[in-house]
Symmetry: C2
Subunit: 147 residues, 2 copies
């Protein structure tokens, strides 16, 4: 008896849970995207941060963290690493805050990044009816939006 037949013989008690399906779908997406951007030297969280900075030039670390739920304590080394790699630059807005902006290299990286994300999204929805994707996004948003 090989592995595959053993798996099929098992009962899978988690399949019907929405929480479990969310976890599996999310980690599948995360792994796929991580692989697609690995050659850019970026993690998923770093990539998300770059997109937020691009959309909001001059945004501070703290504001980014509030927008996409990254703790201040974790934003500090993340921003420092992006600065060190020349992808973003920091300009003082007052005595304690720094406005973050993409460098030219950062903008080039984001252009590549957007292409990789588009392929990631296409991969995710290739088994879904296109007309239902927008509703799916809205349903997922309703799950966590107000909290």
């Amino acid at each position: 008896m090989n592995q595959r037949s053993k798996i099929r013989d098992l009962v899978h008690p988690l399949q019907s849970f929405l929480g479990y399906q969310l976890r599996r779908a999310s980690s599948f997406m995360q792994a796929d995207l991580a692989e697609r951007i690995a050659d850019l030297g970026l993690t998923v969280v770093e990539a998300s941060t770059l997109l937020v900075i691009e959309a909001n030039p001059g945004v501070t670390q703290s504001a980014i963290g509030r927008l996409i739920s990254i703790k201040r304590a974790n934003m500090a080394p993340l921003a420092a690493s992006l600065i060190e790699r020349g992808l973003i630059s920091a300009a003082p807005v007052d005595g304690r805050s720094q406005g973050l902006t993409l460098t030219e290299e950062g903008e080039r990286t984001v252009d590549l990044l957007r292409q990789r994300i588009a392929k990631n999204e296409a991969r995710l929805i290739r088994n879904l009816d296109v007309s239902e994707v927008e509703r799916l996004v809205e349903q997922l948003n309703q799950i966590w939006r107000e909290h």
Copy 2:
């Protein structure tokens, strides 16, 4: 200008990505469930493992890992911890495999666990139309099922 108005002033470039919505919805669910079962001394992965063992008495570590995608190397300390806490017991099935089964205490814990998960699921879907939940589960399953 306070924090909330600052957040509203920012552009959120990730909102329309299915991958991002999956990540946020999944991590919201995970955090909610983790909180609900913390008093049982269980993590989400430990809880998942207990449910698989309950549904498949005598299952081996490796088979559990294949079913819910946990690496053998990570199953070992996980199973050892559940045994040490008296929630499962191991009986040799051959010279190298051990069949895992819930102890009586493990069964009592799973009974409580099921109630907590039910509340977690109810929380997740409280903003959704009930008739659409089943389809949502199926759509999520389609995203990762074949890989």
